[in-house]
Structure formats: structure tokens, C-alpha cells
Amino acid sequence: MHTPARNLETALIHSGSRPDESTGATSPPIAQSTAFAYGSAEDIEAVFAGRDAGFVYSRIANPTVADFELRMTVLEDGLAAIAVSSGMAAISALTLALVGSGDEIIAGSSVFGGTYSLFQHTLSHLGVRVRFIDPTRPEALREAISDATRMVFVETIGNPKLDVPDLMALAAIAHERGVPLVVDNTVTTPLLVQPRRFGADLVIHSTSKFINGHGNAIGGIIVDTGAFNWSNPRFPRLAPFHERVGQFALIAALRNRFCRDLGCCLSPFNAFLMSMGMESLGVRLERHCGSASTVAAFLATHPAVDEARYPGLPSHPGHVLARCQFGGRYGAVVTLRLGTRERCFRFINALKLAKNLTNLGDTRTLVIHPASTICRDLNAEERSAMGVSDDLIRFSVGLEHTADILEDMDGALRAL
């Protein structure tokens, strides 16, 4: 797709726009502008007609956002990308572009609660059927997929179940039936896995998490890997776009219809924060994964902990697959079970360093009790499918010194 830099850690820093021609500034300018003026009626007409490049209105496209989109396209080795206001906006817009009334989505049963709610509750009354399957059982996908299926959706690592699907096996089954595989790469990022290499057709991120990395901006992105042929008759709404721009059909449809009409644009300033944040993703992820591995090993053998879960632990059922797919690093999310809700609350309240909030991928270590917060609207059966029990705690291990993170957790465990 794009000529890659030698390694992704280098591409993170050098794949944005070139330094400003007049000033040499290396950071992208923030085009904090609603619209863009043209010198003549013919010039703006040419842009609207798609005959010339240009920006017209920041709800549709913006230079600072375009810089971020290019960086993510390179990072995912994709064809093109479109940035939106949040990860949920990415999933929503993409789903509305691909799926209509009478169609079907197949999704992993362990997807993030917000994604579950979108599929199960928000879209269902529009006549969209959703089937949830165990994403770690490819045979379950083979049994579930039908002529009505329009997309298969999984996360690289389930949040917070931490199950690991076999992406290549799922892609093969989806493609046998002419269905695209959408992979949410939020928790792993392209530095651990480029889902395209395992057969993914579309990749989405909540860039609010590790891409931004500093807990200061919400955003999302849809990356088309370029692998799927959008002239597929399952997607008649994309046919006019395919006729005009070929392999860019979905991105063009998102840009000029779905995202445009939904208005789910990313603000230029948030795009700037994403671009700046991601430049250090290489070193951040190194620290995140290293500390998470140490934390998981510590918790796994602690007498006060009933169970610790992390794909990097040999005891994890998906450990071997995770090692293959993620190159020997396993992310920053670790979960533990303490037996009861009360013990969980006492533990969280005794932590002094970790911040009790709902987010992932911040510089700070973050902790949350999912059952009473992000998953509280789900029923018992839904929580069980997501691996959320009343005694489950989720950590997003941060960038503090590992010894300090461990000391904080140890102190809180001693308080039980």
C-alpha cells in the first residue's frame, strides 16, 4: 500500500505531513477552521465535483484530521482511513454503511460493552439482526454465517474478557461466504498486530486509548485495508461509489455520505492530539507491555488473588495464539478476581497510584470494577458472555515505574 519506513516505530514519527514549506515547522498546523475559501466559483466547484483535491467543510474533511488519517493508514498498512469523533462513532458509521434492515451482523460475544449495546439495543430496532458467537471458536462462525450476514466483528483481545480470537481462521470463513471481517485493534494497536496480515478487511480503533495515549482526547478511526472488493453484490449501496472510485468505494461512501450525513467528525484539535500522542506509541507500548507482564506474574501468584488473567501468562488459554499473533507482547490490560464485590471495592479504595476511572491506554495506571460501572446495564447472561463477574477488576497498566505500580497493588492487597 504505502512505502513503509524501515520499522513502524520510525513510521510513527515520519509518516505525517512534511514540514511546513514556508516555516519548517515539524508539527502539523491545527486547521481550526469550519470551512475553506476558494478564489473562484470554478475552483470550489471542481472540489465538490471530485475533480480536484481540497477541503470544503470540516465536518467532511480537514487538513489536520487528514494528516492523522494518513498516519493511521500507514500504521495499519491500509488503503485509506477516515477519522471520526470516537471509537463508537467508527463502529456506528461503518455498520450503517455496510448493514441495513433485514441484514445481519455476527459479532464476538466478548466485545466491549458499548459495542454490544450498539449492536444489540440501538441497531436491533432498525431491523438489523445480531448474532453473538464465541470468537475463539471459528466453527461457531461457520455455523452462524448466512446469506444475510454483512459483517463479522471481533476484537483482537476481548475487553475485559481478554479472550484471543484466531483472526486468520475467522477471516478465512468470512471470506468463503463473501463477508468482510472487521477487527477492533484498539487494545493491541498496530505495533502488536496489523490485522490486515491476518486477513482483516477493515480495522477500527478507539484512538482515545493507546493511540492518543495521554487520556486527553476522544476519537476513532476506520481503516480500509484494501483487501475487500466492494463491488460484492452484498453491498448494493456501495455500487455507485465503486463505479466511480473503485477500491476506494467504502472510504468514499463513508466520506461523502455516511460520515458526512451522520456528522461524526473528529475535531482538528483532537486530531492534533492523536497525531502527537501516537509519535511515542513505540516507547509507550514497550513500557506498557513490560510492566503489564510483570504485574500479571505478580498477581497470578499472590495469595489474595483468586485468578489473574493476561494473554501473556502461560496459563491463559489463548497464550500460544496470542504469542503468534502479537509477536510476543500482550498489551497493557490485566484482570484479576478477588472473590467478592466487597473485596474489589476495598482493594480499589486502597490504591493510591492507580486512577479509578473508565479508560484504557493512558500514561497512568487505571483501574475499574466493570460489573458496577461499564457493564452495569447488561443482564447476568450478557455479563457472563463478556467474562464480567462481580469480583472482576480490570487494570490498564500505565507508564509509571514498574516497582511503584507493584508497590501500590501490593499495598492494596494487604489491606484486604
Partner: protein, 71 residues
């Protein structure tokens, strides 16, 4: 040799590839442009190997802009 680029007649060197034509025409945002030659879309992976020929009609199409901005 003579070709047409977005309805304008151009004189270009023989054997020019699409990649070279994009550079020659100083096409803005080449990562965002779709290329058609004589009405047929050229896949991005083929830009470096597809050569234009005498009297070819080349269209550069963008999908950056477009649509009504005021609702």
C-alpha cells in the same frame, strides 16, 4: 505524446507511468486520488507499472470534498 488529463490536453514523455504522471502533474494529496484511464479504474498497486499511451484519457478523481455543508 499527447494525452488528456482531467479533460485538458497534455504533452508528456513516452512510457510515463501513472506514478510519474501524478508527480509531473503535481497532483495534490496523491494518497487520496483515484485514477481512471479511458474509463477503467487503475488499482493503486498498479500505479508504478501502468504506462499511459498516446491519446489516453486520464482522470484523477477525489472524494475529499463534496456534499452540502449546511443543513
Amino acid at each position: 505524446m499527447k494525452i488528456t488529463v482531467n479533460d485538458s490536453s497534455k504533452d508528456v514523455p513516452e512510457g510515463l507511468t501513472i506514478t510519474q504522471l501524478l508527480a509531473l502533474e503535481k497532483v495534490k494529496m496523491p494518497a487520496m486520488v483515484s485514477v481512471q484511464v479511458n474509463g477503467a479504474i487503475v488499482e493503486r498497486d498498479a500505479f508504478a507499472t501502468t504506462r499511459v499511451r498516446e491519446l489516453d484519457c486520464v482522470d484523477f478523481l477525489y472524494f475529499m470534498g463534496g456534499g452540502g455543508e449546511v443543513r
